[in-house]
Symmetry: C2
Subunit: 205 residues, 2 copies
């Protein structure tokens, strides 16, 4: 009964499912390790150990370490974009959206990505760098659209919305300051101060 | 005539002077190389080659690579503090001081120091990290004093002056964005936009 033996056992995932799961697991492990230790000092062996697969399995899924880095960074940035969109969509007004966004970003600083990129860049191909930059730019574009809306509704003064988006994102690097966590009571408190300054600085007069 | 032969030749510096010069030259070369390539990938040999002295000479002046890193970073930060103080002192009013400071910082981004520190930290002793942090804090304190003055003169609203100092410094990281140099016409133009937003956000109402 060859047909029966070929049938999947109950609960056993299809090969494609397993592949997808392994693929995602490798990406998550890679992103976490790169974020913690930087690009150069993390080996594919360590990433494999972290998620219980061999180096060969990683090479089956990703052509190279720079390629895995690119995919893990763009995946992380796409997730940040998705969360950002949801936080802004669910807010009742501009200030609330920015407060929620600030709280989320300050608690989980994006600055590690900046540091990682600077360190990793010399090992990446131009196309890989561009992919990561584009994923970063997508987040700025989303925020710029939100600010453009605020201008149309006369809540913000006329200004380059992309400048405002990049300025807001840069302010969120305050969450990264080693001293900040102790100096400001909480990400929420720091977020309130930053959003207040930013909104007063950008509001329609 | 032993006395005569021991006399310095005209134009030949005293040993102490030479030592000071070599000391400064090593610090400058180290700071430049660390800034360009990061902590780990720069060797004392390279620093020696850069300024034409042997590794032994470096060890005569500095106990270790982490120690040389500490001294080159704190020296750089002290220089930044001196320039900052001069720019603010020479300005006719708050806005002008901030504009000059912004232009200087955006053209010569401080963010490399942040990246370097993150990379170097695992190689440094606690006391060395603290020295660098304190030199950084001195710059924030200077700026905070300037903002305190602005509050006393009712130009700025009452706010934690150190928060304003750190926020302003964080905004200066915009100069580091790889895309910024092309996107904004010049450091002056970007500085004007940032100072305008910051001052409107922080001004007395």
């Amino acid at each position: 009964m060859p047909e029966k033996s070929a049938k999947r056992l109950p609960g056993r995932p299809r090969q494609a499912d397993t592949d997808t799961t392994i693929h995602q697991t490798i990406i998550s492990a890679a992103a976490a390790l790169f974020k913690e230790y930087g690009y150069e000092s993390v080996s594919l062996q360590q990433i494999g150990n972290q998620c219980g697969v061999s180096k060969q399995t990683i090479y089956y899924h990703f052509a190279s370490k720079p390629e895995l880095f690119k995919v893990s960074m763009t995946t992380m940035l796409h997730n940040i974009r998705t969360v950002t969109a949801r936080l802004l969509d669910e807010a009742d007004h501009l200030e609330q959206g920015l407060l929620r966004l600030a709280e989320a970003r300050l608690a989980n600083p994006h600055a590690e990505i900046v540091t990682m990129m600077r360190e990793a860049e010399k090992f990446l191909e131009e196309g890989q760098i561009r992919s990561i930059r584009e994923a970063e730019q997508d987040i700025h574009d989303l925020l710029a659209d939100y600010f453009r809306l605020g201008m149309n509704q006369q809540q913000l003064r006329e200004e380059d919305p992309l400048f405002l988006a990049e300025t807001f994102s840069t302010l969120m690097l305050m969450g990264n300051r080693d001293n900040a966590s102790g100096k400001y009571e909480s990400p929420l408190f720091l977020g309130q101060k930053l959003v207040a300054l930013f909104l007063q600085g950008a509001k329609a007069t």
